[in-house]
């Protein structure tokens, strides 16, 4: 079988180009918003995780730009845009 890679290794196979700033941000004061916890379940890249304090932590590295978190959490919670032109994931197969 094609191995089970773990998400980090899987995302490591993709081509990413650096952006000058993160294209998704948790809005200030929304770190503990319950809607944010949904992102932990839905993000296919596993970029959202719960820390010991019960807060959602987020990293932009490995974002596949699918938009699932925007739909699940909503625009009141997330400042969401696509990366600047030419930045972010560049699929070679798609």
């Amino acid at each position: 079988m094609s191995e089970i890679l773990g998400l980090k290794a899987k995302l490591g196979l993709d081509v990413f180009k650096h952006d000058s700033e993160p294209h998704i941000r948790i809005k200030a004061g929304m770190e503990k918003d319950p809607r944010l916890k949904k992102a932990v379940l839905v993000c296919p890249a596993g970029l959202y995780s719960l820390n010991d304090a019960g807060e959602v932590e987020f990293t932009i590295d490995g974002c596949l730009e699918c938009g699932t978190c925007r739909l699940a959490c909503g625009t009141e919670v997330l400042d969401w845009n696509y990366p600047t032109g030419g930045a972010g994931v560049q699929f070679r197969f798609g």
Binding site: S2, D14, V42, C43, G67
Partner: protein, 428 residues
């Protein structure tokens, strides 16, 4: 400030179909694509059904970089420890013109972009549209990377979230209930191994769907398509179900579990995963379509919600290509009339209503509700596989009679529930 006849936002299938069609009629078309190249941000499961769009672009298909034509269809009902598979092979699937092909978007879209450029469309990659320019209620252009670009009409083909249509006031951010998320791995394998494992001759391909336990009973399923030198293996699952549903599961886990199922593991053995991708899919059907036109703007493809899941087939790319084509036709008519008001551009909706696009959406308007039934993904796979297990079982001692075995599972109560489920499915 530069002025074009048409600005297309997004160089995917809808955008390129529109640009190709317009450039063919000698309009000045600018396509803005945020990726390094067309297809860089695009993902399909995926397969493309050619018949509905073949005649819209008669010159395109001969040289198109498609993967394999699908000659074998399979759907598996998966319970936790067992599965039942239906396999369909038909002569018509092996006859030209082939009905559907597996496809890889980075390759296909890049090629299609070249065809549009050959017709005279101007394609600018690495360009994200930041803002829609609206003057006196009329969309007159866009801002992208500091440039102000004007056009008679803007066609929003910027994908399932369409921030452009949102800015133009044609849609809301969207309800998770109306969308699914798909994610997949590309697994490289030697073509000869693929052909052996799937029983394929030459350029034949196979499509496999997995439903039930693969999504933990949530709305969706797994898929596997054979490409020329790789497999596309992935999961599609309703976002609302992922958010709320019990059992709780993190999306990526579903694909890892699918890979370990014996039914799948033997097919991907020795393969090398080379890419992991994800994409949102509109699945809300007719009622979730966005407004299709406004003053100086049209919306096509995923941006408009043109993608549809009716269980055995999940389709989006043909609707993208066709809606792009009809958006272009609407622009040509508006150009003749010399105005680009919402009223004039509404001809786009009429053209779509006359085509397979809106006819499909109308005919299958109840599909989202009929299929949004957890029993299809839990009760049925469990029941069918358990029945099979008992029918095949030979234990020590005498074997149970067959009829009582079936009857044990198909109680009056169960049959009554089934009747209820299938009454809804009749609307499909």
């Amino acid at each position: 400030m530069e002025k074009f006849d048409v600005i297309v936002v997004g160089g995917g299938l809808a955008g390129l179909a529109a640009a190709y069609t317009l450039a063919q009629e000698d309009l000045e078309v600018l396509v803005l694509e945020r990726g390094d190249y067309s297809g860089a941000k695009n993902v399909t499961g995926g397969r493309l059904y050619l018949n509905p769009v073949r005649d819209l672009f008669p010159d395109l298909w001969k040289k198109a970089p498609l993967e394999r034509f699908i000659a074998h269809e399979e759907v598996a009902m998966m319970a936790e420890k067992r599965s039942v598979t239906i396999r369909y092979s038909g002569e018509e699937l092996r006859q030209e013109p082939y009905q559907s092909y597996s496809v890889l978007r980075a390759k296909f879209d890049r090629w299609l972009a070249k065809q549009a450029e050959r017709k005279g469309a101007m394609l600018v990659a690495k360009s994200r549209v930041d803002e829609v320019i609206i003057e006196n209620g009329q969309v007159v252009g866009v801002r992208a990377g500091g440039d102000e670009l004007h056009a008679d009409v803007v066609i929003a083909c910027d994908g399932a979230l369409s921030l452009v249509a949102e800015q133009a006031g044609l849609r809301q951010p969207g309800n998770p209930h109306d969308f699914a998320v798909g994610f997949k791995e590309i697994i490289e394998l030697d073509p000869a191994v693929i052909e052996d494992r799937f029983g394929l001759e030459g350029n034949e391909g196979a499509a496999r769907l997995y439903m039930g336990e693969v999504t933990r009973g949530k709305f969706g399923g797994g898929f596997l398509y054979t490409n020329k030198e790789s497999l596309s293996l992935g999961i599609v699952v309703g976002i609302k179900d992922l958010m709320d549903g019990s059992p709780q599961v993190q999306a990526p886990q579903l694909l890892d579990d699918l890979k370990q199922r014996p039914e799948v593991a033997s097919l991907i053995r020795g393969g090398q995963t080379v890419e992991y991708s994800a994409h949102v899919i509109p699945e809300g059907g007719l009622k979730a379509l966005t407004k299709l036109y406004g003053n100086g703007i049209l919306v096509a493809g995923d941006a408009a919600g043109f993608s549809m899941n009716i269980g055995v087939t999940v389709r989006g790319m043909e609707y993208a290509l066709a809606s792009g084509y009809y958006a272009a036709q609407a622009v040509l008519k508006a150009r003749e009339a010399g105005q680009y008001t919402a009223n004039q551009l509404s001809v786009y909706e009429l053209l779509l209503k006359d085509s397979f696009v809106m006819k499909d959406f109308q005919n299958f308007k109840d599909a989202p509700t009929a299929l949004d039934n957890p029993r299809f993904f839990t009760v049925y796979p469990e029941m069918v596989t358990t029945m099979m297990s008992e029918l095949y079982a030979v234990d020590d001692g005498p074997k149970e009679r067959i009829y009582p075995t079936i009857k044990k599972h198909l109680t009056i109560r169960e049959m009554w529930d089934m009747l209820g489920d299938f009454r809804k499915v009749r609307k499909l």
